[in-house]
Amino acid sequence: MSQVTQAPPPVALAPTQPVSLTINGQAHTLQIAPWTTLLDALREYLDLTGTKKGCDHGQCGACTVLVDGKRINSCLSLAVMQEGSEIQTIEGLGSEDQLSPLQQAFIDHDAFQCGYCTPGQICSAQGLINEGKARTEAEVRELMSGNVCRCGAYSNILSAVMEVVGRELKIEN
């Protein structure tokens, strides 16, 4: 059968470009399309699936990671914008043998049900502790408001974070 009409040529995609990131202490250079978010780069190209995709619009906090020690929503950052950054994900906070204080506190306080928001909650809480601004329960609640938990485990999340915040304050004093 002869072809009567020719399909339009495919629209050329923008070329990929290199981006160098340090992730959990390891240097990586990725060759990726510029529209790849940091979240997708972590999950799809580096197999670091601990960081979760919830809303993908910066509203739920499930994708929270630390960039140069500060918590951000990885779904709203393009990976190419993070050239040269040091990124810490839930996989880099502790290990199976040695959990981070927050990871242990979340277990001790039963601070999750389904667990989907937990990596983001813990990374966000680590960012909160790095910032050193929240001391009281009301302040921790306010500064954890960027992380939503659909199971409603908030009261136990609060007590887990408070335990580690309290320990940090003791060390400070």
Partner: protein
């Protein structure tokens, strides 16, 4: 998201040239709003110019006693900066009232001015919106407009500017520094954002290709008597239905100087200089505040679902001015919004 290319700018001049060389290009700071708009296909830039390597992220005292916020300083670093906390606590509180800690870490000060409305229809490609597609119509008029404006609206658009930070910047008489194809210039904050009129697609008065490089705060910071009151559907991490930045200079109980700006009610932070003038020389009492509130809302227009905002804004003005006078929150709304200097 559509296909686009990305370059990281190394200098302001290079960024401005790159912008001029690529039709349909856009600057990107923290990306918190633009990346979202690109995912929704509301923004479809063909080329992005990254700004994070420009520097411009410092906060420095100026020779005249003011403070310069670099356009690339993050909202969080700005809010918690010792000079901002000490001399411009109104700005500190307005920034901390907005977004979430993660977003404030990403978002830049210049980008905060450039964020776009959160009117539902602006994000919904299936509906007409004059701001997104000029000439297509306004779905919010006669539609779901609880979040929309009541002051300075037009038949084309009733969207609001969503920023908290900008409400404080307006009250504090900030100057916006920009760089563009024709060199550098400054824009008074009150002239930066515009009312919708017949061109709601234009949010501000930047010329094509211009880039914000910094924000200059004047020396006077009203650190003694101020209040940022934000009223919203939940206590944290929500846009304002109505917000009020109030700042007073008092001599005993007499008002010597006053600033008043509203958020959540208009296409720009709503500063009413006539209302401010009405406060000067008057006693700082509820009667004075009620007269001023009535004046600010005298020409307000409700659109059905948002008509409640007129009375809400009046009461919010009275309460914010009272809180600024007494330096006491009437109700604890937020752990970090206590007017305790």
């Amino acid at each position: 998201m559509n296909s686009f290319t990305f370059t990281q700018a190394a200098a302001v001049a290079g960024a401005v040239q790159d912008k001029a060389a690529h039709e349909g290009s856009a600057y990107i700071g923290g990306g918190t709003n633009l990346v979202d708009l690109m995912k929704e296909n509301v923004a479809r830039p063909t080329h992005l110019i990254g700004l994070k390597k420009l520097g411009l992220d410092t906060i420095e005292t100026l020779p005249d006693g003011g403070l310069r916020l670099g356009a690339l300083a993050s909202n969080a670093d700005t809010a918690w900066h010792p000079e901002v906390e000490k001399r411009y606590p109104l700005l500190n509180q307005a920034i901390l009232a907005g977004a979430s800690p993660q977003l404030r870490n990403m978002a830049t000060d210049g980008g905060n001015l450039m964020q776009r409305t959160r009117c539902y229809y602006f994000y919904d490609l299936a509906t007409p919106c004059n701001k997104r597609e000029p000439g297509s119509g306004c779905s919010a008029i006669g539609g779901y407009n609880r979040v929309c404006g009541i002051l300075g609206t037009s038949d084309s658009c009733i969207a609001t500017h969503p920023s908290d930070m900008c409400v404080a910047l307006a009250a504090l008489d900030t100057t916006v520094r920009v760089s563009g194809p024709n060199g550098e210039r400054t824009i008074k904050f009150e002239d930066f954002h515009r009312l919708p009129g017949d061109h709601p697609e234009r949010d501000n008065t930047l010329e094509p290709g211009e880039l914000i490089t910094g924000l200059d705060l004047p020396e006077k910071g009203f650190a003694k008597n101020f209040s940022y009151l934000k009223l919203r559907d939940r206590t944290s991490y929500a846009f304002a239905l109505v917000s009020v930045a109030a700042a007073l200079e008092l001599d005993g109980n007499t008002i010597k100087d006053a600033r008043l700006a509203l958020g959540g009610v208009a296409h720009k932070p709503w500063r009413d200089k006539e209302a401010e003038a009405m406060l000067i020389g008057q006693p700082a009492t509820a009667d004075t505040f009620r007269r001023v509130a009535a004046k600010v809302l005298a020409n307000a227009k409700g659109y059905g679902e948002n008509t409640f905002k007129i009375e809400l804004a009046k009461r919010a003005i009275v309460r914010a001015l009272k809180q600024a006078t007494e330096m006491k929150q009437e109700v604890d709304t937020n752990a970090f919004l206590n007017s305790n200097p």
